[in-house]
């Protein structure tokens, strides 16, 4: 159902009155980011697939479309979302794009933003605007479609999004190999440097997990040289993506996400680690102070996110250096001059 008019009306009214809005799709990622005070702008009813032609590898969907529904439609055509987004509940497509989170396939296939070809959005002034398109290559105008990915609804409400999709591999298998933690990063770097049909590479002590995708004979040939055992199914990657592994569920410590150079060593922080994306995305369960973690991440040339376990007003995302934050504020001003869209969800003054 197309609710564009009603949504536009609500945003326009909020703009006139200068009242903040809290954008809600499926509510599955409400825990992610900082809390927003504001009237709910409900996207859940604005749903449906607008256009899908498998041979074009492009699908256009309304923001409130359930992610699971889209994935089913794609699967029926032998296709998939290459960025393998986490659901964390009844996720919507708009929410998945706005959150900007990508699953284990990311280093091999690309991130959310890499698959965003175009968006139709509602700005903070209540204007309906379209950027990007439904074609693979497009450099007309600034790429405002990709910028929406990961902006947590603070720049615009995603009414529609066109996503590039990928064919599903004929076969996927999961292998694992016992490995001491000290060797994990080196082993992953070595594997990432080879032309292998990899689609997942993670380390959850004491095992290194590999996912191979492709033709059966290719997988067989590759697997035989890796000295690893087959697992009966591929459930590990789903449990990793949805954070259902014991690493995520056991214990009370906060969950942090750290992103930095894949081969760089873990910083000296207390807690337990799980490595994904061949080492480029690391999860840390810790009781360390946020400042210490942000500082360690910055020193390593990366960044940290307090993923779970924070309070509503805690800093969640890596503090930005002042010149960079100035650009963020100016960009927010361009899209949403009265700061009515999810204010504070990402950073306090944004």
């Amino acid at each position: 159902m197309d609710l564009t008019e009603a949504l536009q009306e609500q945003v326009s009214t909020a703009y006139r009155r200068g009242r903040p809005l809290r954008i809600v799709g499926g509510g599955s990622k409400a825990f992610y980011g900082r809390a927003v005070e504001g009237e709910v702008l409900a996207l859940g009813g604005h749903r449906g697939i607008v256009a899908y032609q498998p041979s074009e590898l492009v699908v256009t969907v309304r923001g409130g479309t359930p992610l699971a529904e889209l994935e089913q439609v794609l699967a029926a055509e032998g296709q998939m979302l290459g960025f393998e987004p986490p659901h964390f509940g009844p996720a919507t497509v708009g929410g998945a794009v706005a959150a900007g989170l990508s699953g284990p396939r990311r280093p091999f296939a690309g991130a959310v933003r890499d698959f965003v070809l175009g968006v139709k959005l509602l700005t903070g002034r209540g204007e309906v605007l379209s950027f990007g398109g439904q074609v693979m290559k497009n450099v007309a105008g600034f790429d405002l479609a990709r910028v929406l990915a990961g902006s947590l609804g603070t720049l615009g409400v995603i009414l529609e999004v066109s996503l590039k999709v990928l064919p599903r591999p004929p076969l996927e298998v999961t292998l694992r190999r016992r490995l001491p933690p000290a060797q994990a990063l080196g082993a992953m770097a070595e594997l990432m440097g080879r032309d292998l049909p990899l689609s997942g590479l993670a380390y959850d002590a004491p095992f290194l997990y590999l996912r191979l995708s492709g033709l059966p004979e290719v997988i067989e040939e590759t697997a035989s040289g890796l000295g690893a055992e087959y697992l009966p199914d591929n459930r590990f990657w789903l449990d990793l993506r949805e954070q259902r592994l014991a690493f995520f569920t056991a214990g009370e410590e906060s969950l942090w996400r750290l992103a930095w150079a894949p081969a760089a060593p873990n910083p000296d922080l207390p807690g337990r680690w799980l490595l994904d994306w061949g080492g480029a995305q690391r999860w840390l369960r810790t009781t360390a102070e946020p400042d210490a973690i942000f500082q360690a991440a910055a020193q390593a040339g990366g960044h940290a996110t307090w993923f779970r376990g924070h309070g509503p007003a805690d800093p969640v995302f890596q503090p930005l250096p002042p010149p960079l934050f100035k650009l963020h504020k100016a960009l927010k001003e361009a899209f949403d001059p009265k700061r009515i869209l999810n204010p504070g969800r990402m950073y306090e003054d944004l």
Partner: protein, 484 residues
């Protein structure tokens, strides 16, 4: 003392005198980029060598309210580096060092003036390469690739520049350095890394680029398929993708292009073909062999009367040489040609090529097509004679071709950028609201509007003057199209 002299004097305090070009013969080589139809002798050219110098030049520009254009290797194809009548042309040609190559982390941190191909050459001994390969890769600089979000024949599988750069160091016009992205695969905050890609030098000045390197593919197979009709070739391209294959490259040429190439270098292309498809697969050997067989099967099923798989590297090179020489081959048979660049949905290729042929007839001009079929990125080459005063007619035909691309749900530029060339066509693709937001984003980065002014995003007044924008009650042009 003129303003120019005053600026020269201030520049002399920043860079050595020989890094300031001011004589007509020194300025002339900078009068255009790869799009030679637009030329303007620069007011002044400066070639800084260090970021500290660049910071001071930016501050000078800001203080003097002096606009500037930053230029790389000058291979751009839309006039994005066209100099200003009164403003600086800053060449980053001397920012040409590879600062760091990390074979374990598979990244290279390079200065913007480094040539695209030089990165792969440096990475090759480690079994790695940089995937995006614009046709000009031997000469074009990585900074320019970022500014234009350059593509190439392999971006069907490996993506554009934006998909292969993980970090940028940029200077804002205030001379402040910002780092976008991170050493990981993403950065904190908004994805400004993506925004700067393809921003055509309007937002910030890039001083360092960190690219992702990929393992060299274990095996490569290249197929050449000849079709009796353009429609059959277009269907075959769609069929390959529908069969679940993502070739590394899938290129197409029509008959005028085939004939020009054959006359030029005898690549062995069948002259009787209405269209040729070159399809390249790469990856682990067993995978590539199976995919090549599957692609061949699709080509034959859709009517290819000849399908050849390159038997060795020499033959593979020959297949590609024809494709890569298509532009000079066309150059031999016409005094001038104008290369267009638009992208359309793949399933409209046959229809759009027929439309282009009709438009060409209407204007009495010849058009050859050589393009990235897998991406739907067309490159019609309009042949003409500038000396006969045909340029205006060519530009009109070009605009009509781009209108056609927009009408079928495509875009006015796939990889060359808007520059000065396509400002008018921007008025066709975007409405007033979109253009206003583009301007607002420009102001967010560059409040004084001094960075590459007059490029990429047209003013609303320009669109209104052209009559290209009929905004009625906030509705966009062509409201009947589900276009975004």
């Amino acid at each position: 003392m003129t303003r120019r002299d005053a600026v020269i004097r201030r520049l002399q305090a920043i860079v050595p005198d020989e890094a300031i070009l001011r004589q007509p013969e020194e300025l002339k080589p900078y009068e255009c980029d790869g799009l030679t139809a637009y030329r303007r002798v620069p007011w002044l050219v400066v070639l800084p060598e260090h970021e500290a110098q660049l910071v001071r030049i930016l501050k000078l520009c800001r203080d003097e309210k002096l606009p500037l254009v930053v230029r790389g290797a000058g291979t751009g194809l839309s006039g994005g580096a066209l100099p200003l009548e009164e403003g600086l042309l800053v060449s980053l040609a001397r920012f040409d060092r590879i600062l760091e190559l990390d074979p374990v982390g598979r990244t290279a941190r390079v200065q913007p003036g480094v040539r695209n191909l030089a990165i792969s050459e440096a990475a090759c001994p480690h079994g790695l390469y940089y995937a995006p390969d614009p046709s000009s890769q031997i000469a074009c600089s990585i900074g320019g690739n970022v500014a234009e979000n350059a593509g190439g024949i392999h971006c069907l599988k490996y993506g554009l520049t934006v998909h292969n750069v993980i970090g940028l160091r940029c200077l804002t016009l205030d001379g402040e350095a910002v780092t976008l992205g991170s050493a990981g695969l993403d950065g904190p905050g908004y994805d400004l890394l993506a925004l700067v890609h393809g921003s055509e030098g309007l937002l910030a000045v890039v001083t360092e680029v960190t690219v992702r390197l990929l393992p060299l593919p274990g095996c490569t197979r290249t197929l050449l398929a000849a079709f009796p009709t353009v429609a059959a070739a277009a269907d075959a391209v769609a069929a390959v993708i529908e069969a679940g294959l993502i070739p590394a490259a899938m290129e197409m040429m029509d008959r005028p292009a085939i004939l020009a190439v054959e006359d030029y270098l005898q690549a062995g292309y069948p002259r009787e073909a209405a269209a040729l498809v070159i399809c390249e697969l790469d990856g682990p050997e067993a995978q590539v062999e199976a995919e090549a067989a599957a692609a061949r099967c699709q080509f034959e099923r859709l009517g290819a009367f000849r399908v050849q798989v390159a038997r060795d590297e020499a033959e593979r090179q020959r297949f590609w040489q024809g494709r890569k020489s298509a532009f000079p081959a066309i150059g031999r048979i016409t005094p001038d040609y104008y290369c267009m660049d638009g992208t359309i949905p793949r399933h409209r290729v046959a229809e759009v090529l027929a439309g282009i042929a009709r438009l060409a007839d209407k204007y009495g001009l010849r058009v050859a097509n050589v393009f990235h079929a897998g991406d739907g990125n067309l490159h019609p080459l309009i042949m003409y004679d500038a000396a006969a005063g045909e340029l205006e007619k060519v530009e009109q035909l070009g605009r009509e071709i781009l209108d056609l691309c927009v009408r079928v749900g495509g875009t006015i530029t796939g990889e060359h950028g808007v520059g000065v060339e396509k400002l008018d066509s921007m008025c066709r693709q975007f409405g007033a609201g979109e253009l206003r937001l583009f301007h607002a984003v420009k102001r967010a980065f560059d409040p004084t509007g001094l960075l590459n002014p007059g490029k990429a995003v047209p003013t609303l007044a320009r669109c209104a003057e052209l009559g290209g924008m009929h905004v009625h009650r906030g509705r966009l042009p062509h409201p009947e199209l589900a276009r975004f």
